[in-house]
């Protein structure tokens, strides 16, 4: 941990501890993993933007069906290409950490599931979501009838104002009644 830890000084460490839900060990570990993804010649790790396909090589994200959406949601780059700098990376880990509040998790989960970024989960969003979860190719996906029945059921359960879409408040309401969400919406390095 010699040279890498020295680039992350105490002041920054305590700042990150204040601004995220991560502990000191977790932040240091995150820095270590982040530095491993940096190209060799890059010395200033904090501000460099790692492109999305490099981030997706991380074993924690590789097998996740939502990995691209996660990168796009947490990325603050101007070109919206999913590249993450160290701040974004810590934001990602903080939202997925054990101690993050339910509100933070449900907020980011909503944005991740919102494939077309229109602020609501419409039928297309839900269809894409189901296909991501089940595999979505030919044999492994649901038939159109089953899909329609499933989405009708989801909307019946969660759409309170009956407008055909699930907005953020309705989503957070459903999540608050869901006991499994907090334990499954977790990524630990």
């Amino acid at each position: 941990m010699g040279t890498t830890a020295s680039q992350l000084d105490k002041g920054m460490l305590s700042e990150y501890q204040e601004l995220t839900f991560l502990t000191k060990q977790e932040i240091l570990l995150a820095y270590k993993r982040f530095s491993e993804l940096l190209p060799k010649e890059e010395t200033n790790g904090i501000s460099y933007r790692i492109p999305m396909n490099a981030i997706l090589e991380l074993p924690e994200l590789k097998t996740n069906p939502f990995n691209e959406r996660i990168c796009k949601v947490f990325s603050t780059s101007d070109s919206h290409d999913g590249s993450l700098n160290f701040d974004d990376f810590l934001d990602l880990l903080s939202a997925f950490s054990d101690s993050a509040t339910l509100e933070i998790k449900s907020h980011y989960a909503f944005r991740i599931f919102d494939f077309d970024d229109d602020g609501t989960l419409g039928r297309q969003d839900l269809e894409k979501l189901v296909n991501c979860l089940t595999g979505g190719t030919g044999d492994t996906s649901l038939t159109p009838d089953e899909m329609k029945q499933l989405i009708d059921n989801i909307l019946e359960e969660s759409d309170i104002d009956k407008d055909g879409t699930v907005n953020l408040s309705e989503f957070q309401h459903v999540i608050s009644r869901s006991p499994d969400f907090v334990s499954s919406f977790k990524i630990v390095l």
Binding site: Q17, E18, L19, T20, T23, K24, K62, T63, N64, P65, F74, D87, D88, L90, D91, T101, E103, I104, H107, Y108, A109, F110, F113, D117, D118, G119, T120, L126, V130, L133, T134, G135, T140, L142, E146, Q149, L150, N153, I154, E157, S158, I160, D161, K162, D163, G164, N167, S169, F171, V174, I175, S178, P179, D180, F181, S183, S184, F185, K186, I187
Partner: protein, 748 residues
């Protein structure tokens, strides 16, 4: 009237942040003390008027400082805001700017708060790193998901629970006896019937040349050299200990320690299950929100293994298909004719009777095995080493066989009973739980019948002295044997069944290996196994105070055995076990085990005469009398108080009061449910109102654009007067027709 509300929602409505805020939302935010928007408004308004305020003098500035202090202290911490790091930094800098307006006292308070919080975080961090098996459990979680993780954290909980129970028994029962040689203390044992038949306790240590395998027999059965040790109840033949400082009533301590460990277990389990219980009680989980739960919370983000991810996907697909099918079946069932229903019910009745018969047969065979085993031990007929062991372990063998065969039988029968898939799983589980836990009860019942049965005449000493000079030790030995055998079986099955299965399936491809398939880690069966072991521990701890320590070691070793088996042999099951409901299930079954364990302990403490030849209750008729005797020695006031507590009047009135409280809470819950459904209807109506209004507005605007401009807006008032003129004049057109930036619409 209906046309007002029958809106074609599919008509395209432009996106608008207004639509996504139900009318109550703003009031909800306002009511929340530490809301983000509230603090933002406050801080932004302060920013705007800051310069103005600084001009004001005197009292108003002091009041404003108090407000700032209050708002800063009530504000949510920065990290709970759902913003990017840059934005969080900006908010924090803004807040610290405001904080500089504070007085010294306020700043000092802020700083101490921050320091304390940091200390607390660091302390929590250190404590959690001390947790047992943290890295192992994390490894399992990453590979197998949270369902199986809950099994292992349950195992960890049992290890800690058993350790605590053992420490309780050790401190209050064993420690006083151990330190006797080191402090000059005297033991008082009043042997009232000295020389009577009841107080004869023949030594069971083997004399003369002892063959090696007899030592093994003794070790495995708790007899021989182990019988007169700290291990069993019989060793504690001490009534009171006179220390230089005072008297220690060991008999009373023994009784109270027993009650204490049962209470501690109860409270700990209830506390642990409190959160899970609340959520499961909200509504029956299976019918309520089951689709949303599976879709939104279905994916385990902890999974890192490619194979496991594929399996998770296929299991989710399977689950969704099953649920959809179940819904279709439900709809079909509603259409069932009367004749069909009669058929199904009669079939179910027959199968349930069959299940009862099977259970009765199992229980009878356990009873027979126990009586046979006790007879053989009494007769002391030595055939050879193996046969001796089998005779000793016959009840354990029969119980294990029954517990192995009956779940298979139940899973076959349930297919004919035509229940919904979710109910099938639950019902089979309930039957298995019943089978496992009742078999212990039957074993104890058969032991009890042997102990209190002296043939035709009533027993001389209250129990059958000829057969059992110290019956508590005998019961303790049976529990010890059950524990040891349970552990041996678990390890043996893992080594002798699962490893070969894995080898066969991997290296020898044939029809057999395809049919048998790879081992699945069946969580319910594993949980039942360890709950069974824990129930034995609870019952046995009274007769064998060291048993909790043995169980701690046993569960500790089982953790590693199971972990090895999981990683080497098993693939994750296709029917996933939900983490939340599993917590509730585990602790629920554990509670059933605990309540079942209380029954034999209570019966033997209160009903059966305690042994005269061994144990701390030599001077009393039953073990409970130790407590009543001590109560008599208390001062008069305390005595009357305790008698009042145990009188019928108190019990009846307590029962009535708790019934009333329960009815009140149930009524309250019903009222809340009604209010919730009313509010839901209101929300639906509110949403429809908004849609209707916005549609009308769009129509009106389209009309105004379609008409030539010369007519002007005033003449439009003929059509729909109030909407058109008021909206046109009050609201800028741009408000509704501009698409907002996507990101901002999700900001709350």
């Amino acid at each position: 009237m209906d046309s007002v509300f029958n809106i074609d929602i599919r008509e395209h409505i432009p996106n608008n942040p207004l639509l996504y805020q139900p009318p109550s939302y703003d009031s909800l935010l306002y009511r929340r003390k530490s809301s983000t928007i509230g603090s933002k408004r406050r801080s932004s308004s302060r920013g705007r008027f800051g310069s103005l305020n600084s001009v004001k003098s005197g009292g108003s500035t002091i009041k404003r400082q108090d407000d700032i202090e209050k708002s800063l202290l009530e504000e949510r911490p920065v990290r709970e805001l759902a913003k990017s790091m840059k934005e969080k930094r900006a908010v924090r800098d803004q807040r610290s700017l405001k904080a500089q307006d504070l007085s010294d006292w306020g700043q000092w308070r802020q700083n101490t708060r921050r320091c304390l919080k940091r200390l607390k975080d660091n302390a929590e961090d250190r404590l959690s790193s001390l947790k047992l098996w943290r890295s192992d459990i994390r490894q399992i979680e990453a590979r197998f998901g949270t369902g199986i993780l809950s099994y292992f954290s349950f195992l960890r909980f049992l290890v800690v629970l058993n350790l605590v129970i053992f420490l309780l028994m050790f401190c209050f029962i064993m420690l006083p006896i151990i330190i006797i040689p080191y402090t000059s203390a005297n033991i008082t044992q009043n042997d009232q019937d000295h020389g009577s038949v009841c107080s004869v306790y023949p030594s069971s240590t083997r004399l003369g040349l002892v063959i090696f395998h007899e030592h093994i027999t003794d070790l495995l059965s708790g007899g021989g050299f182990l019988e007169q040790t700290y291990l069993f109840y019989g060793f504690y033949k001490v009534d009171k200990i006179q220390y230089p400082n005072g008297t220690y009533n060991l008999a009373l301590a023994y009784l109270l320690a027993t009650i204490a460990y049962l209470l501690v277990s109860l409270i700990w389990i209830v506390k642990r299950s409190a959160t899970g219980f609340k959520q499961n009680l909200v509504k029956d989980e299976d019918s309520f929100q089951c689709f949303c739960n599976k879709i939104f919370a279905g994916w385990d983000f902890c999974i890192t293994n490619e194979k496991v991810a594929d399996l998770k996907r296929s299991s989710l697909l399977y689950e969704l298909r099953t649920d959809l099918e179940e819904e279709r079946i439900k709809q079909e069932k509603a259409k069932r004719t009367r004749k069909d229903k009669c058929q199904i019910y009669s079939l179910r009745l027959v199968l349930n009777v069959f299940v009862m018969v099977v259970l009765a047969a199992c229980f009878y065979s356990i009873y027979l095995a126990t009586t046979f085993s006790q007879e053989q031990q009494r007769k002391q007929v030595k055939v050879n080493f193996i046969m001796d062991l089998i005779h000793e372990y016959l009840p354990s063998i029969v119980i294990t066989l029954a517990n192995f065969l009956t779940p298979l039988l139940f899973s076959v029968i349930i297919n004919f009973e035509d229940y919904s898939p979710a109910f099938e799983i639950r019902f089979t589980l309930i039957r298995c739980v019943f089978m496992r836990l009742t078999s212990i009860g039957v074993l104890l019942f058969s032991l009890w019948s042997q102990i209190t049965n002296c043939g035709e005449e009533p027993c001389l000493c209250g129990y059958n002295t000829a057969l059992y000079s110290c019956w508590e030790t005998r019961v303790g030995q049976e529990m010890y044997k059950l524990t040891v055998f349970d552990f041996i079986i678990i390890v043996a099955v893992t080594i002798l069944v699962e490893f070969p299965r894995k080898l066969i399936v991997t290296y020898w491809k044939s029809g057999l290996s395809d049919w048998w398939g790879e081992q699945e880690f069946a969580i319910p069966q594993n949980v039942l196994e360890i709950v069974y072991g824990q129930t034995i521990c609870w019952i046995g701890a009274f007769y064998c105070p060291v048993l909790p320590a043995i169980c701690t070691i046993k569960y500790f070793l089982i953790f590693y055995v199971k972990k090895l088996s999981l990683i080497q042999n098993c693939r994750p099951s296709t029917r996933p076990f939900r983490a939340s409901s599993s917590n509730f299930f585990f602790l629920g079954v554990l509670l059933i085990g605990l309540s079942l364990a209380c029954v034999p302990v209570t019966v033997s403490v209160a009903q059966i005469n305690s042994s005269r030849a061994c144990g701390p209750f030599v001077n009393y008729n039953t073990s409970w009398e130790a407590l009543t005797a001590s109560v008599m020695e208390l001062p008069h006031g305390a005595q009357t108080f305790l008698y009042a507590l145990s009188s019928e009047a108190f019990a009846v009135s307590f029962f009535v009061v708790s019934c009333l409280a329960m009815f009140y809470v149930i009524a309250l819950a019903g009222a809340h449910k009604r209010v919730i459904s009313q509010l839901k209807d209101q929300l639906v109506m509110g949403g429809r109102d908004k849609h209707f209004l916005i549609l009308k507005l769009l129509q009106a605007q389209r009309l105004s654009q379609a008409q030539p401009r010369a007519s002007g807006s005033k003449s439009r008032s003929r059509g729909s007067p109030s909407y058109h003129t008021s909206f046109n004049s009050d609201f800028p057109e741009g408000l509704l027709l501009v698409h907002p930036v996507p990101n901002s619409s999700t900001q709350v």
